[in-house]
Symmetry: C2
Subunit: 115 residues, 2 copies
Amino acid sequence: MRKSRPPALQKTAPVFAALGDPTRLRLIAALCAGGALSIAQLTAGTAITRQAVTKHLEVLADADLVHDVRHGRERLWELQPSRIDEARRALDAIAAQWDQALQRLKAFVERKPSS
Amino acid sequence: MRKSRPPALQKTAPVFAALGDPTRLRLIAALCAGGALSIAQLTAGTAITRQAVTKHLEVLADADLVHDVRHGRERLWELQPSRIDEARRALDAIAAQWDQALQRLKAFVERKPSS
DNA sequence: CTGACATGCAACCATGGAGTTGCATGTTAG
DNA sequence: CTAACATGCAACTCCATGGTTGCATGTCAG
């Protein structure tokens, strides 16, 4: 049985880190729009090198946000649905705590009108 | 009419980047739990220096996730509600596109049974 | 006023991330 | 077989980031 650890926020840091780069967000957007794309396709239209794109894709893959499929001489990349959902839940959790904290803070302030 | 473009994913990158560090996630968690805390309080119990904590707080502040309030000789930090909500909406947007992409892909695959 | 406490500031270091280039390898089309 | 195309691999540069230390400043308590 697993310890019902409430936060486990730390675990999600790598996912956020992977999402925290404009180039990678663009790759994700492209994959959202284009289904499975090859490295060459993902590189076309960008200002950066194919190698740079490859590295970014590997970062995303490490965070389980995308995965690759070999197809002949090409390597196609596509989205990994499950992980994004986890990230979203994590953000929801943070937001929930956030709200609680604000409620608490607000209550505290109101209960103590004059210093 | 404007193309209903998924509102500038790029814009949210800094927020994700700010969240993409375990130390910063811990600070956020601490602020969630503790309301407004001073730098010294946030430093206590961690393995890193007060200066390091200060720098992380400034990163979070740059992303508008927290803000500071001067209080005498102390500098108290507290959460900034609005931004997290934006990040959450961004993730929801990504997830929505994600789902659409998967639907489309699924439809495509099913329409083309034998290659 | 004076000491103790909470920070601010600046210089400095080390690492890792983002990007590049050059060359090797695998694959598909003629 | 061979040329062209899509990648893989490795070495190298550059700079932002995470962290440190040392010292200066502002502020509260007595």
